[in-house]
Symmetry: none
Subunit: 217 residues, 4 copies
Amino acid sequence: MRDPAHAAPIDTVRVRVPRAVREREMRDVAAALFAERGYHGTSMDEIAVRSGVSKPMVYEYFGSKEGIYLACVAEAEKGLIESMERAVSAETAPDRQLWAGATAFFTFVEEQREGWSVLFEEAPSKDGAFAEAAKRIRRRQAQVIGRLMSASAEAAGAQIKPDEIDAIAHALVGAGEAMAMWWREHPETERDVVVLRLVNFALLGVGSLLAGERWTP
Amino acid sequence: MRDPAHAAPIDTVRVRVPRAVREREMRDVAAALFAERGYHGTSMDEIAVRSGVSKPMVYEYFGSKEGIYLACVAEAEKGLIESMERAVSAETAPDRQLWAGATAFFTFVEEQREGWSVLFEEAPSKDGAFAEAAKRIRRRQAQVIGRLMSASAEAAGAQIKPDEIDAIAHALVGAGEAMAMWWREHPETERDVVVLRLVNFALLGVGSLLAGERWTP
Amino acid sequence: MRDPAHAAPIDTVRVRVPRAVREREMRDVAAALFAERGYHGTSMDEIAVRSGVSKPMVYEYFGSKEGIYLACVAEAEKGLIESMERAVSAETAPDRQLWAGATAFFTFVEEQREGWSVLFEEAPSKDGAFAEAAKRIRRRQAQVIGRLMSASAEAAGAQIKPDEIDAIAHALVGAGEAMAMWWREHPETERDVVVLRLVNFALLGVGSLLAGERWTP
Amino acid sequence: MRDPAHAAPIDTVRVRVPRAVREREMRDVAAALFAERGYHGTSMDEIAVRSGVSKPMVYEYFGSKEGIYLACVAEAEKGLIESMERAVSAETAPDRQLWAGATAFFTFVEEQREGWSVLFEEAPSKDGAFAEAAKRIRRRQAQVIGRLMSASAEAAGAQIKPDEIDAIAHALVGAGEAMAMWWREHPETERDVVVLRLVNFALLGVGSLLAGERWTP
DNA sequence: GATGAATGAGGATTCATTCAT
DNA sequence: CATGAATGAATCCTCATTCAT
């Protein structure tokens, strides 16, 4: 009945799609759904239907719902971390690295809204694997920031305990996350403004800290 | 911990318990479960069984699962906010208010582990009412902090836009939240140390900001 | 705390309401609810709340949901049948009795919308007692009509089997019911028009109707 | 009644049954249950069990309880209307069409007891979709009858308002329905007798009937 | 490689009805 | 007389996951 000479459009009937492509399509569909409705609000059925494949395919490729969710997380995580790493690399002048890192972060927030949602908004945090992933993401961000701070301290000849640097780095990452949420509620604000607010807040604080200033009650 | 002379364990058969009492018992049970397993990991069935009542009672008193969850949130929120408000009230010396507020916050984190979990760890953030609640909690914390900052700025004769104060306050709240998570992973750290790290980070940063210092790329 | 001299309005707190009054109030509330939402759509809870009494009162007075529903049916039935009986009584000229009966019927439909609904629209007909009630109502209407027909036949000296009269009477009652439904969908039609259509149809038959014959009171 | 050689009993374990077949089986089972116990008296669980499938299958195929009920209604409706249409088609002599239509109707009542029940006995009439369906069925029957009447009127050169025809057609349909119920209570009566009573009532009216006039096919 | 068919298990919610006071 | 407190029992529905073809 079907005339092979007049092939159906590729998004209607596709044969022999390479595994990597299929996988990516499915993951993108899933990420969009997770971002829109959250983990529990998304069903495997819907992922399959929207991906144009049958459900067993989704299982074949990702093993489970958790699997596909974590794949989405990993993808977004990779994008965020790589972008931050690049920003704070040696190619950036030392005194601009924090600023560059923050810019990378907020650029991700702005441009990869989906990825941001998957990473920070709906992790069913009580479930082992998800909580782990969330912690890991924050830790990796904190490491990027922590390295900056360590270098800075070293350059200033200050002695700061790694443990303290780690804690402060986490705090800074949390501040960034919170400011990103604030930004979502105030979308009229320019990205540069948001970046500068965070950087100033952090730089001046961290700077004084590194310089040895301390407040005690 | 429970004094049998004053309160029968909830798995004892008791009938005709006044509404207010039962309601509180049920809410406490629910809070513990939500904190332990998250919203989706907790079933109404279990809340009922552990409360020693039948499911219809739970519905009679809270209307729905969302209802009882939000009741738990409201309770914890009240505890946290009131405690922070008290700490930063006029009875505290101005230069110690931020410290007092942070202490109140981390004390809550330490002592009301359950409340903390319910408030910050498992809100199904994509669902309207839950997301609203989460935002509201952060906003209220930010307001407490923001008032401090405004007063401080005024005292220093500085002109800071309310919008900026609001954003920074949110960032600071986020920093506290992140530091609380860090603390969870490093439980050997003393509370006072955590408090001071956050306060120093914030105070020196905020202080410089309020003093008009600015970094630009 | 309450000052008996300043008694609460009677619809807020009422004491010692005579049984008959309470009963009637409750039945009226129930009838309204049944008419609006059907039997299954109405809950005992709602009947109690709207009646301003506790649920056990409703059970005390009517025994069960079925009980209160059947009480509503009985009340409406009484109204309808009595009104039809009156209309076709000896006080009405014989040749106007059918017309008078139909008028009584459609008047009931028009004025006791609630009663009509309870009687004809939501009987869960599969449940023994309800089906019985529905049949009884139709039978009683058919009896009223059947007596007319018998008298008429006798007057004309015709011999019609009671069984046939009964069947035709039921058909006529069904025709009336159907026309009442039609009327609901065409509320702009005058009651007299509806009555005359039914009466003419019954008296003359479709054939005569189409031939232009008409009976008028 | 079931021929084991052609159709395995539905309580035999069968897997991989094509959708269309399963769907039909499920609908038939459901129709039987609805007819026997009414809508509210039937549970999805029972439909599933008796169909030899699991509940999710029922939902997969019909979406909801309302869905499967309406599917039963549609099926029965189709049978009834098609049969009536066929009876009154041009292939039947004009003066016998009403009789043929009535015969089709009562044949349906007799032979498709289940369908009849689903169509006319337990629609939860207060619920939107069900009430709509019930109205639609009556309307469609009335249309079949109405067309007959219009043709008849035209042939006789009479001018009858469509609105009046519609109303009378509905009344006639209601008369048929009522007579069908009467028949249920008097199952010893022959179908032809019932048909003739209705047709005579409709064609001649009570008056002529009482006067002894009779139409016969 | 790919899918239509199928399900076990569980979850939220509602209701008619009855105690104990 | 009157009620607030309480429940057993269902019901509808959904979902992640797998088998048979």
